[in-house]
Symmetry: none
Subunit: 206 residues, 4 copies
């Protein structure tokens, strides 16, 4: 039975199982045994690979944040139009990426979000991502607005994105990604409209 090179496979297996467990019963009811059962392994192995339950949870959150960052980055690199509106549009699209808002990832995300209020390690991860989103938005808005307005626009859009996620995660049927994107883009257009910019009308997604 002993195999070499199992480490990356097992780690991914366990992270996926963690999200499945949180999706199923919530973070509070997620025990190592349940995660292990989802992964089809024994509970003891979690301590082996992650040093303990907390290590696994941290790794899981890290992966969700990494995936989210990646989804945004991919879209921004694919832009032909480098306008601020296009960049921010890509950020919106990335944040409502199918792989993020569908299934286990969304509930896991919100669960960690709430949990991070009182766990310094999770809070740090959260903050890094949060600040990146804000500074990216702010930077793009700055290209067409004065600083004060750009800051408010960035804060408003960030709040809107989070709010849509939140409401989506709480809806039993899951987030309606298309509607969420529509609302976010509409808001974006309104923000730009206040500054006399041209706003491309179509938001058909990838």
């Amino acid at each position: 039975m002993p195999k070499v090179g199992m480490e990356p496979i097992r780690r991914q297996q366990l992270i996926t199982a963690t999200m499945a467990a949180i999706d199923e019963v919530g973070l509070a009811e997620t025990t190592v045994m349940r995660i292990a059962r989802h992964a089809g392994v024994s509970a003891g192995i979690i301590s082996h690979y992650f040093g303990g339950k907390d290590g696994l949870l941290e790794a899981t959150m890290r992966q969700i944040l990494t995936d989210l960052t990646g989804a945004v980055a991919v879209r921004r690199h694919a832009l032909e139009d480098g306008s601020p509106h296009a960049h921010i549009g890509a950020i919106i699209e990335g944040n409502f990426d199918r792989t993020q808002v569908t299934g286990p990832a969304a509930k896991t995300w919100l669960a960690f979000w709430a949990s991070s209020m009182h766990k310094p390690m999770l809070q740090r991860l959260q903050n890094v991502n949060d600040r990146r989103l804000y500074s990216n938005l702010c930077h793009q808005f700055r290209r067409v607005m004065p600083r004060a307005e750009a800051r408010n626009a960035a804060r408003g859009l960030a709040a809107m994105i989070d709010g849509l996620w939140l409401r989506g995660a709480l809806t039993p049927e899951g987030l309606d990604a298309d509607e969420a994107r529509l609302l976010a883009h509409t808001y974006l257009d309104q923000l730009f409209a206040h500054y006399g910019c041209t706003t491309p009308a179509s938001h058909t997604n990838s």
Copy 2:
């Protein structure tokens, strides 16, 4: 110490202590012992008055939602100007009422929110409130917009309010209520601007 007629006093004491405990260490680490210590009573009394921990948590969430509803209602009844814009403005103000966004209540609110994903009873309470907010907003927007636009406006504003709450709860220093209100009102003005309504400029709060 034993006196008669303690029930309502103790119940309120324990609900307050629950919020304090959740604020302090988070829902996951909130034990009945910690709540009892906050209230200066013994742990057993929680089962006596609330039938158990779950009963107390439910009562606590119920109170938060009731307070929130009340804060909105008070402001709407105090309106001299019955315009849609004024009504919606009052709803925003109520949602960022000092007693709601300050201190323990805000974190407790978010904690329950996340928790409600997997607890039917909390979910039900959540849904009732959620739908009331949405239908109130929708109804006012309908007075100045076509149905489809009103729906989107209501969804957008609800998401914005939640998003601001959420980000506020996660910020270590707590929510900056004034900034949040400013962003929400700005968004509201934008929504109305799109339909050529007059938008009163001042949002000095009570």
Copy 3:
């Protein structure tokens, strides 16, 4: 509310409530609160009148045993025929008295019986009664049998009576007193038959 002379009334009320509670949920689930609810009083009063739960239980058992002894004594005193067979018949009749085998008393009796294995005080009460039954039976049998046979007859009949009680208490519908009496009398007749005594055939009960 304070009344004088309540003591005997309250004591009887609580003893009756204790039997009702044991009948309803069994000795293990019988709490002072449940007893108090049955009696329509508060739990604290039990300690007041009986010094505690154990005191009440002991008083309850004592009453059951007293009632049983009384039921036997009444029948024996009422005998016109002083023959051994008549005396023993009266003992049997008393042991299957309606007030004993019907309703709460029977289950309470068996519950105490089992419990008395490990509670010296109950065991003592049990033993006193037990020995009285045995010595009464033995004494009557001695009038028509040699000592060794009388002893065995007494032991056998005592076992038969207990066994019928036991099986009756376990039967959901309760003990069928008539059938039990019939079996006990039949056994008695057989015991006498072995020694050539005349055995009156009729066992119609009081």
Copy 4:
């Protein structure tokens, strides 16, 4: 110490420890900690192997009943003489088997018996066994008596057996198995004598 394949060993160990604990302090005072101490393991393992205290108690009762059934079956299969009297004699012998009436098993049996009045699961187990005893006795009696008489004989003998057990369990020194068997066999002989059957006189046990 952890080894594989411990499950059956631990289960038996815990069942035995349960009987020891009940024998020692009675069912009411038997805590999982005490059982665990008897078995030399930690309390948590009881939930691990039996799902909880109730599961262990049920398993214990099941084992006692199984052992009892086995003790009877062994004797009946060993019979050379297939007469009704021999069969019933074997049933009596089995019911007063040394392993049953000696030590912890007897007290545990009675404790469960009383407890089964209010626990459906135990009651079911009890009933199955009870009915088997009755129907076995009845069937054998039917071979030499009319139906009505056979039924009464079976009921009487069953009551006698239970009564002897009961009194034995309550006697501090434990049941005197020889005396109990003697009384039961004597009763059996009397039952047969009433129908003119030959009754072998010797009841020396295995």
